[in-house]
Amino acid sequence: MNGINAIVRKELADHFSSYRFIILFALIAMVSLITTYMVGMGLKEELAGVAKPSFVFLMLFTSTGPLFSLVQFVAFFGPLIGLVLGFDSINRERSTGTLSKLASQPIYRDAIINGKFLSGVVTISIMLVSILLVVTGLGLTLIGVVPGVEEVWRLIIYLVISIFYIAFWLGISILFSILFRGIATSALATLAIWIFFSFFISMGATVVANAVVPIDQTNQDNPQVVLKHLKVQRVVSLISPMQLYNDSTAIVIDPTRKTTRSFVLMGPMERLSLSRFNRPLALAQSIYVVIPHIISLIAITVICFGVSYTVFMRQEIRSA
């Protein structure tokens, strides 16, 4: 246990004193504050005449404002935090020769990788919590509405999902830092994965759907075919952790949303009930809707770390 302790302490000190962390944190803090300010001002105007608005505080995070919502921003930019914190964690030690020194100390070898991952997760958590608190503070003064108990719970759950989501990307980057000896190589590889999942997966989903269920002039009026096409597209896009995250947080943080599926994919009864009963969902019900997403997200994070762990434990540690 002593080994992990020492490594986590050192890694945390490294993270918090590194320029890359400071730059990243400054960037995120800036964007979040600007977004919150704009969204807050917009909300104030919108809600001016409304008698008893509910869940106003959460709107701070979900309203898109002129640019994007805070939730969207974290979904898109969060991976970069994980990737930047981890992409050189193992191969830098290898290239400077500290890895063999570390491995020759009386600690278990997994203390090295566990310590790296743990310190990354702690850094991510501190980052997210502090940003969320600052945003909350600003939001309170801007719109003057105190969040209810349920809203706070929703935010906490959102936070936990976000930490897992970013930890997944941290795991990916640590894995690449184990697989690739070159620091530049692993940096590029992690960026490539990020870009692939953020931009190309939706295109890929369309391509796959077109190949599996082609839609042309002869069958474009057939609802069954169109439905199938959309279903395939959706399944493919769910491969992306980004999609999993977007779906689960959207439901958790927005009680008025009741399903992750688009309107086209619903059956007639579902559409009917959705239009009839438009009260917000209870917290437990919201979670119930996206529990598969959340579990999948946690699972891929654990799998990703598991793979890194196994690869690292099997690798030879040589000085050169």
Partner: protein, 252 residues
């Protein structure tokens, strides 16, 4: 001193695919001695050290280090052994003290115990004035001295030093060799020293092992080797000559 063996290997072998890095190595090193481990690059010296430390698993054969099996009881072995790898690395952004404190923490030495030790060790290797400099600004010689300080902090029973004088100027080399000698004489650490610097090895090693192509082809005090190979009893014989003789024989 009735010296009992602290390192023993029996038919230790390591293969990487079809190449044999270490071939049937049987070696005994007694407590308190300085063993000079010689051989050209790629002859399997580092691989042997890694196997003895439990960082690499032997393909066959067995080893005992300080009474423990390096594969099964790696942690216990690592507690007993201080290792300076070839091209030792330090955390460049941390200063000398921070680097040493990190090593102390990894060895479960609490900060209160380690701080006086760190000061003492830095003083001993002549880095006291540079203690607060970042290691990135250290010269090669200073890094090697810091590595020696690491050993002083850890106070192991055995030290594996892999090319500690590589790339140092003559003055730096002499300094390091003197520190190694004091590790052995003052701190009673058994030392396994791998090096190319034959004159220096000759100066301090009690016994010498020559490894070529993974095989230990000679082992014993310099006098014995000189007698075997050159048939001389002359005290002035240099390790250079003996080594070259062995080397030519194997190459032929």
């Amino acid at each position: 001193m009735a010296a009992q063996p602290v390192i023993e290997t029996q038919s230790l072998t390591k293969r990487y695919g079809t190449t044999t890095a270490v071939d049937d190595l049987s070696l005994t090193i007694k407590a308190g001695e300085i063993f000079g481990f010689l051989g050209p690059n790629g002859s399997g010296k580092t691989t042997t050290l890694l196997m003895l430390l439990g960082l690499t698993e032997a393909t066959s054969g067995s080893a005992t280090v300080a009474g423990f099996n390096p594969t099964k009881e790696a942690i216990k072995v690592k507690r007993m052994v201080g290792y300076i790898p070839e091209n030792i690395g330090f955390y460049e952004d941390m200063n000398g003290i921070e680097n040493l404190r990190f090593i102390a923490r990894l060895n479960s030495i609490p900060d209160e115990t380690s701080s006086p030790k760190i000061d003492e060790a830095l003083e001993r290797v002549g880095l006291k004035d540079d203690a607060f400099k970042k290691v990135a600004a250290f010269s090669r010689g200073m890094r090697q001295r810091l590595a020696i300080a690491e050993i002083l902090i850890k106070e192991p029973q055995i030290a594996f030093l892999d090319e500690p004088t590589l790339g140092l100027d003559p003055e730096g080399t002499t300094l390091i060799i003197d520190y190694i000698k004091s590790l052995s004489r003052e701190h009673h650490i058994t030392i396994l020293l791998s090096s190319h610097d034959l004159t220096q090895v000759q100066r301090i090693a009690d016994r010498i092992g020559i490894m070529i192509h993974g095989k230990l082809i000679a082992e014993g005090p310099l006098k014995k080797l000189a007698h075997e190979k050159l048939g001389v009893e002359d005290k002035e014989i240099s390790l250079d000559e003996v080594y070259m003789k062995y080397f030519q024989e194997v190459s032929a």
